[in-house]
C-alpha cells in the first residue's frame, strides 16, 4: 500500500530544495505576491492613536492605551487577500509597517527629511512612503514633540549611565529602536483558544467585583482591569469586522469553492477570538487574531507563538479523528499562517535597522522538546510544522526545535533536511539539557522550565508567564576590554568614567592577573550602568505605555491587577546581551603570550601599535609586524584551552555579576550571548585591539569565534564554544555555522550534520543554527540582487532576505568562516 502523506514526511528525506514547494497553488500565490512587495509605511495607526490620545486627555494612562487600541482596531483598513484562509492585517497593505507615534516620532520626521536617508533610499530595509502618508506623519509628528516615551526615557537617565550608553557607547538600546516598544514575551495563546476573550473578560469582571478599592493602590488595579475589558472587547469587534467583510465578499463571489471558503471565514471571525475555538482551522484564525493584536498594540518585537505543536495539537487531533481535516489541509493552513506571520512588519530608526537588518520581527515558533513530566513532546503536528517550513522557505515565523538526549534520530534528521532545504537557517536547534537548567538557575519552577519556548533571537521564555524585560541592552564587551587597556579612558571620546584599580593601563600592568582584575572591575562597572539604563527604560514603559491587551493574556496580571509593564507577569527578568567575547579572549591570550610569557613585546609597544592602528612603520617591530605577532597568538574557535578558557573566564564573570541586580519590574538580572547584527556597528566605535583586529572592523558575533580565525573546522569551533558556561546564559547563546551546500547533497551529509549537532549538545552547547549557502552564491547575489529576491540567510537569531541587507552586513556574512570539504 502506498505511504500516506504523513508517513512520507516522516520517512523520506530529500536534499534538493526544489523538491519542497508550497503545497497548493494558493499558498504559492500568497507567498510570491507577498515577497514581491516593497514594504510601505502606513500612517493609519499613527493618526488614529493620536486622535484617541487627544480625546482621552485627563484619563488614567492605562485606560487611554486601551481606548487608543479600541479606536485603531475599529478604524483601520481591513482587507482579505484572494485565496486567504486565515484573515487579519496589521496595516493598510501587505507587509506595510504601522507607525507608533507614542514611542518615537523624531526619527520618522528626520528620515522623511532624508536624515540620514529617506525611507525609500535606505541601503537596507527600505520603505515606500506615499505623499498622503507623509503628510499625516508630519502632522502627527509635530503634535507628539516632547510627549513621546523616547523623550521621557532619556530624561530619566542619570549622567553617568547616559555617558556609558550614548557617548562611550559601551551599551546600547538602539537594537530595539530608541523608543521601540516592549517585547520579549509570549502571551498565553492556549488560554485564548480554550476560554475565548469572553471568558477572560468574565475573569476580569469578577476580579473587579472583588476589589477593595478603599485599600491603598487598589484603585489602580481597577483602572487596569477596566482597560483589559475595553481592549479585549475591541479585539472581538475587530474580528467581527472581518466577519462582515468576508460575508460581503462571499455574496459577490462567483466561484462556488471560494464562496464557501469565505462563508467559513465569516463564521470563524464571528465566533473567535471571543469564544473557544471549535475546529483546527478556527483555532488557527483565533490564534492569528490574538497574535496580530499583540503586534498592533505594542511596538515591540520578539513576541512569539510559544510551543505551537503542543497547544494546537488537541484541536488537530480532534479534527483528524473526526475526519474533518487531513494532514495536507493542515499543512496548507500552516503555510497560510507562515505567510501571515511574514507579513508582520515594523519600522525602526536607521541605527536600529542597521543592527537588526532584514525586517525581522523575531516571531518564534517552537516545536519538539519534552513534556512537563520529561516525555517526548513530538507529535504529528511537529512534523507538519517542519514540512510547512521547508515548503514555504519564508523568513517568519522563526521555527525552532528543542532537542534533548532522547530525541529520536528520525526527527533530528528531518530537522537537518529542512535546514538544508530552507537555506535560511531554519529550524534553529536548541538543547533542552542546557536551556531547562538555565531557567531553573534563575528561579523558574521545574514545571515551567520544562515548558519553556524560544523567544526573540535565541532567548528562552515561559509562554504566558515570563516578561523578559521590555528591551534588553546590547553590551559591547569588546569595548569594555578596550577601556580596560586604556585605564578606563575611551580613546575615541576621551571620556573616563571608571579608572582601573591602581590606575594602570596596558603599558604599566605588571602581571596578567593585574590585567584580568582590571577587566573584571570594568565589566562590573558597565554591568551596573547597563542595568541602570534598563531600569530607566522600564520605568518609562510603566509610566507611558502600559499594554493592557497583552497583559490580559499573561499570568498573573488579572489576578494582581497589574500590567506587565508594572511587573504583573509571573516571572520578570532584565538582561544584557554581551557581544565580542571572542575578541576579549583573543586579546587577552595575545597579551598573555607575547607580553607576560614570551616577553616578545612590551605592553607599551602594543599600546602604541593600537593607537596607530598597526600602521606605524618607524617602530621595531613595525606596526604591521606587531599586528601579525598578535594574530599568530592562540585564537578562540580552534579547540585550544589556552584562549578558550580566557573567553570563558571573562564571560562567566560578567554573567554571574549581573545576577545580583533586580529589574524595575522586580525580576532578576540575566545575560545573553547574542549579537543580532549589532556586531558590525559595535565594531565601528572600537579602535584596534590586541587580537590583531584593526580599528572599525566588526566584533565577533554571539559566542561564535571571530570570523576567519577558526581555522580547524567546525568540530574545533563548536568544541571551543561549548567550553563557555552556557547554562549561565539564561537568555540564550548563539552559535552560527555556515555550511557549503555540497556537504549536504546527500543523506549521509545530513547524518553528519545531525552528528555535529548532537555532539555540540553532548558538550553542553545551547543553540546552533546553520547558513547553508555557498560564498559564491552570496557574491553573485550581491552583483545580481534581482536574481535572488527570495535568497535567505540566517543573520543572528533570525532569517532575513539577503538582498535587503546593508552591504556591510552582507560582507560580514560572507566573511564568516565557511565550513566545507
Amino acid at each position: 500500500m502506498a505511504k500516506s502523506y504523513l508517513e512520507r514526511i516522516k520517512t523520506e528525506l530529500v536534499t534538493d530544495p526544489k523538491l519542497k514547494q508550497p503545497i497548493t497553488e494558493r499558498t504559492r500565490q500568497l507567498r510570491d505576491t507577498m515577497l514581491a512587495v516593497t514594504p510601505k509605511l502606513c500612517s493609519e495607526r499613527a493618526r488614529l492613536y493620536t486622535e484617541s490620545w487627544q480625546e482621552t486627555e485627563g484619563q488614567p494612562t492605562v485606560i487611554r492605551r486601551a481606548k487608543a487600541l479600541e479606536k485603531i482596531l475599529g478604524g483601520m483598513s481591513i482587507f482579505i487577500r484572494p485565496g486567504e484562509l486565515i484573515v487579519g492585517n496589521q496595516a493598510s497593505d501587505v507587509r506595510a509597517a504601522p507607525v507608533f507615534p507614542e514611542f518615537n516620532m523624531q526619527f520618522i520626521l528626520e528620515e522623511l527629511d532624508g536624515k540620514p536617508y529617506k525611507f525609500e533610499e535606505r541601503p537596507g530595509d527600505p520603505f515606500q512612503v506615499s505623499e498622503e502618508d507623509e503628510k499625516v506623519l508630519r502632522e502627527v509628528g509635530k503634535w507628539w514633540k516632547g510627549k513621546t516615551m523616547a523623550e521621557y526615557k532619556l530624561n530619566l537617565f542619570p549622567e553617568e549611565a547616559y555617558k556609558a550608553y550614548y557617548e562611550i557607547q559601551a551599551l546600547e538600546l538602539y537594537t530595539f529602536g530608541e523608543g521601540g516598544g516592549s517585547g520579549h514575551f509570549t502571551v498565553d495563546y492556549p488560554k485564548v483558544l480554550n476560554k475565548g476573550m469572553y471568558g477572560i473578560i468574565k475573569e476580569a469582571e469578577e476580579r473587579i467585583s472583588d476589589l477593595k478599592i478603599w485599600e491603598p493602590g487598589v484603585l489602580k488595579q481597577k483602572e487596569f482591569l477596566k482597560a483589559v475589558i475595553i481592549a479585549l472587547k475591541a479585539t472581538i469587534n475587530f474580528a467581527k469586522r472581518y466577519a462582515v467583510l468576508a460575508q460581503e465578499m462571499a455574496d459577490k463571489e462567483t466561484d462556488s469553492k471560494r464562496k464557501a471558503e469565505l462563508i467559513k471565514v465569516a463564521e470563524h471571525c464571528e465566533w473567535v477570538p471571543g469564544n473557544p475555538a471549535r475546529t483546527f482551522w478556527e483555532a488557527m484564525q483565533s490564534l492569528w487574531f490574538a497574535h496580530l493584536i499583540v503586534q498592533i498594540e505594542s511596538n515591540g518585537h520578539s513576541m512569539g507563538y510559544g510551543r505551537f505543536d503542543q497547544f494546537m495539537y488537541p484541536s488537530y487531533q480532534k479534527d483528524i479523528d473526526e475526519g474533518r481535516i487531513i494532514p495536507e489541509e493542515v499543512v496548507e493552513l500552516l503555510e497560510c499562517l507562515w505567510i501571515k506571520t511574514t507579513e508582520i512588519n515594523k519600522v525602526r530608526d536607521w541605527d536600529a535597522t542597521r543592527v537588526v537588518m532584514g525586517y525581522p520581527m523575531f516571531q518564534q515558533l517552537t516545536v519538539g522538546g519534552q513534556t512537563v513530566d520529561g516525555r517526548s513532546a513530538i507529535n504529528d503536528l511537529s512534523w507538519l510544522v517542519l514540512e510547512a517550513t521547508a515548503n514555504q522557505k519564508v523568513i517568519q515565523p522563526s521555527v525552532s526545535v528543542r532537542w534533548w538526549n532522547e530525541c529520536p534520530d528520525d526527527f533530528l534528521l528531518k530537522c537537518c533536511e529542512v535546514i538544508n532545504i530552507h537555506r535560511g537557517g531554519q529550524p534553529a536547534m536548541y538543547n533542552d539539557e542546557v536551556i531547562i537548567p538555565s531557567q531553573m538557575g534563575i528561579g523558574i519552577s521545574l514545571e515551567d522550565s520544562y515548558n519553556c519556548a524560544i523567544e526573540g533571537c535565541v532567548s528562552i521564555n515561559e509562554p504566558g508567564k515570563s516578561r523578559r524585560e521590555g528591551v534588553s541592552a546590547g553590551y559591547n564587551m569588546h569595548k569594555v576590554l578596550e577601556l580596560t587597556l586604556f585605564n578606563g579612558r575611551d580613546p575615541r571620546t576621551g571620556i573616563q568614567l571608571c579608572p582601573n584599580p591602581g590606575n594602570e593601563d596596558l603599558s604599566t600592568f605588571e602581571s596578567f592577573e593585574e590585567l584580568m582584575t582590571a577587566l573584571k572591575h570594568q565589566l562590573e562597572y558597565y554591568d551596573r550602568q547597563g542595568i541602570i539604563g534598563l531600569i530607566c527604560t522600564d520605568r518609562a514603559y510603566a509610566e507611558m505605555t502600559p499594554t493592557p491587551y497583552a497583559s490580559a493574556l499573561m499570568d498573573d496580571c488579572i489576578q494582581t491587577g497589574k500590567d506587565i509593564e508594572w511587573g504583573g507577569a509571573h516571572y520578570n527578568t532584565t538582561f544584557l546581551r554581551g557581544v565580542g567575547m571572542s575578541n576579549i579572549g583573543n586579546s587577552l591570550a595575545a597579551i598573555k603570550k607575547l607580553v607576560f610569557e614570551g616577553k616578545k613585546l612590551t605592553g607599551a609597544q602594543i599600546m602604541h601599535a593600537l593607537e596607530t592602528n598597526f600602521e606605524d612603520m618607524s617602530t621595531t617591530p613595525t606596526g604591521p609586524e606587531i599586528q601579525q605577532m598578535l594574530l599568530a597568538a592562540p585564537k578562540y574557535g580552534n579547540d585550544d584551552d589556552y584562549v578558550d578558557l580566557l573567553v570563558k573566564e571573562a564571560t562567566s564573570h560578567a554573567m554571574r555579576d549581573v545576577r545580583r541586580y533586580t529589574s524595575w519590574t522586580g525580576g532578576r538580572g540575566g545575560f545573553a550571548l547574542l549579537p543580532v547584527s549589532q556586531n558590525v556597528p559595535m565594531g565601528e566605535i572600537i579602535g584596534a585591539t590586541p587580537d590583531g583586529r584593526k580599528a572599525g572592523v566588526p566584533t565577533a558575533e554571539g559566542c561564535s569565534p571571530t570570523r576567519g580565525t577558526d581555522v580547524n573546522g567546525p568540530t574545533a569551533a563548536v568544541k571551543s564554544v561549548a567550553k563557555l558556561d552556557h547554562v549561565l546564559a539564561d537568555e540564550g547563546t548563539l552559535l552560527n555555522q555556515k555550511f557549503n551546500p555540497t556537504v549536504l547533497k546527500d543523506i549521509s551529509g545530513l547524518r553528519k550534520l545531525a552528528a555535529l549537532i548532537k555532539t555540540y549538545f553532548d558538550l553542553k552547547g545551547m543553540h546552533i543554527q546553520f547558513n547553508v549557502v555557498s560564498a559564491d552564491t552570496l557574491r553573485d547575489a550581491q552583483k545580481h540582487p534581482e536574481k535572488y529576491t527570495d535568497l535567505m540567510v540566517r543573520v543572528a537569531g533570525y532569517s532575513a532576505l539577503f538582498t535587503s541587507l546593508d552591504p556591510a552586513v552582507q560582507e560580514d556574512i560572507i566573511m564568516r568562516t565557511e565550513h566545507s570539504i
Binding site: 612603520m617 621595531t620 617591530p621 613595525t622 604591521p624 609586524e625 601579525q628 605577532m629 599568530a632 579547540d639 580547524n712 573546522g713 567546525p714 568540530t715 574545533a716 568544541k719 556537504v743 549521509s748 551529509g749 547524518r751 553528519k752 552528528a755 555535529l756 548532537k758 555532539t759 553532548d762 558538550l763 565550513h819 570539504i821
Partner: protein
C-alpha cells in the same frame, strides 16, 4: 619487558606528517580526522598534495601573503643560510628554488605567514592527541581516523602503531594507499583498519609508469591479494578520473574488469580537480596538467555506468 614499556616505546615512534585535518567528510563514514603522511613512491602528474611527495619537509611560499618590504623589513632575506631569497624590484620576496634546502629558517623570520614548512616530525603520541580531540564526534557519527598522504606504507612502523592505538580507542579506522609497498606491511596494517581505500590509476604498465613514475606490477599484485579476501577489512578501489589520461571507457572498464575478476565489489570514482595546482607554484615546481579541466557530469555518468555494468557498486567521491 612489560607491555607498558612496549606501549610507551610505540608512542615515541616518530613520523613525517604534513597535515592533520579535522572534520573530514569524504574519506570514510562519519566525521573524521585525516592524517597526511609525507613521502610517496609515486609522483602522479595530477597529485593534489605535491608537498607530500618527498619524504622530508618542503618549503611553501605563499606570495599573496608576502606584504613586501614597505610593510616589513624583509628579515627572510638575511635568515636564509643558502642566500636563496632576494627582493624583486617591487620589494617582494623571491625564492631561488635551486638553492632552497627547505631548512625553514625563513619561516621563523616571516611574521606574515608567507613562508611555511610542510612536514613536521611528530611522535605517534602527538598525532594521537590531535586525533583524540574529536572522539565525541566520532562517537556520534560513526567516524574516526583516515590515514593518507603521501603514501602511508612508507612509514610503516609509525602508521602501524598509530592505527593500533586508534583501534584500542574504538575509533573507526581507514587507510588510503597507492598499493606500492611490501605486501607484508599492507597485510599487517590491515589488521587494524576497518576500511581500505586502494588506488588503481591505470591497467597498462607502460602508461602507468608515464603517469606516475612507476610501473603498476607491484600495485596490481597487492591489489589481487587485497581484493581476493586476504585482508579482513572492507576494500574500496578508487580511480582518479583525469581527462585525457585515464578517463576513457576502456581505461575505466579495464580496471573495473580487473576488480571484479579479483573479487572486489566497490569502486569509487574521483573526478579530477585543479585545486592542488596552486600548491605547485608555492613549492616552485611546474604543474604539467594546467590545460586539464575536470570531467563533465555526463562523462562521469558514462563511467559510472561502465563500472556498474560489471556488477560493481559505484560511488563518486572527492579527490
Amino acid at each position: 619487558m612489560t607491555s607498558g614499556e612496549v606501549l610507551s616505546e610505540r608512542k615515541q615512534i616518530t613520523g613525517w606528517v604534513f597535515d592533520i585535518q579535522r572534520f573530514s567528510l569524504h574519506d570514510g563514514p562519519g566525521i573524521r580526522t585525516l592524517v597526511f603522511m609525507q613521502g610517496c613512491p609515486l609522483a602522479c602528474k595530477w597529485c593534489c598534495n605535491p608537498e607530500g611527495q618527498k619524504h622530508r619537509p618542503q618549503l611553501r611560499f605563499l606570495s599573496i601573503k608576502c606584504v613586501g618590504a614597505d610593510k616589513c623589513k624583509a628579515p627572510c632575506v638575511d635568515a636564509c643560510p643558502e642566500g636563496a631569497i632576494s627582493l624583486s624590484p617591487e620589494g617582494k620576496a623571491v625564492t631561488d628554488w635551486e638553492l632552497c634546502q627547505s631548512r625553514g629558517k625563513c619561516t621563523e623570520a616571516c611574521l606574515f605567514g608567507a613562508r611555511t614548512i610542510a612536514g613536521k616530525r611528530m611522535t605517534v603520541e602527538e598525532v594521537l592527541a590531535e586525533v583524540e580531540k574529536d572522539w565525541s564526534f566520532y562517537n556520534r557519527s560513526g567516524g574516526g581516523i583516515t590515514v593518507g598522504g603521501g603514501e602511508p606504507l612508507i612509514q610503516f612502523e609509525f602508521v602501524l602503531a598509530l592505527l593500533k592505538m586508534c583501534k584500542e580507542r574504538f575509533f573507526h579506522t581507514a587507510l588510503e594507499t597507492c598499493g606500492h609497498g611490501p605486501w607484508q606491511h599492507l597485510k599487517q596494517i590491515s589488521k587494524y583498519i576497518d576500511l581500505l581505500y586502494y588506488d588503481i590509476k591505470h591497467m597498462d604498465p607502460q602508461k602507468h609508469k608515464e603517469l606516475t613514475g612507476v610501473s603498476n606490477e607491484l600495485i596490481l599484485s597487492n591489489a589481487k591479494r587485497v581484493l581476493s579476501g586476504k585482508v579482513d577489512c572492507e576494500v574500496i578501489v578508487r580511480i582518479p578520473i583525469v581527462p585525457g589520461y585515464n578517463d576513457s571507457k576502456q581505461d575505466v572498464g579495464a580496471i573495473a574488469r580487473f576488480v571484479t575478476e579479483s573479487g572486489g565489489t566497490m569502486i569509487e570514482l574521483l573526478p579530477y580537480h585543479a585545486l592542488g595546482s596552486s600548491k605547485y607554484r608555492q613549492l616552485g615546481i611546474q604543474y604539467e596538467l594546467r590545460e586539464v579541466r575536470p570531467p563533465s557530469e555526463q562523462q562521469m555518468e558514462k563511467l559510472r555506468n561502465r563500472v556498474k555494468s560489471f556488477g560493481l557498486k559505484e560511488m563518486t567521491g572527492v579527490f
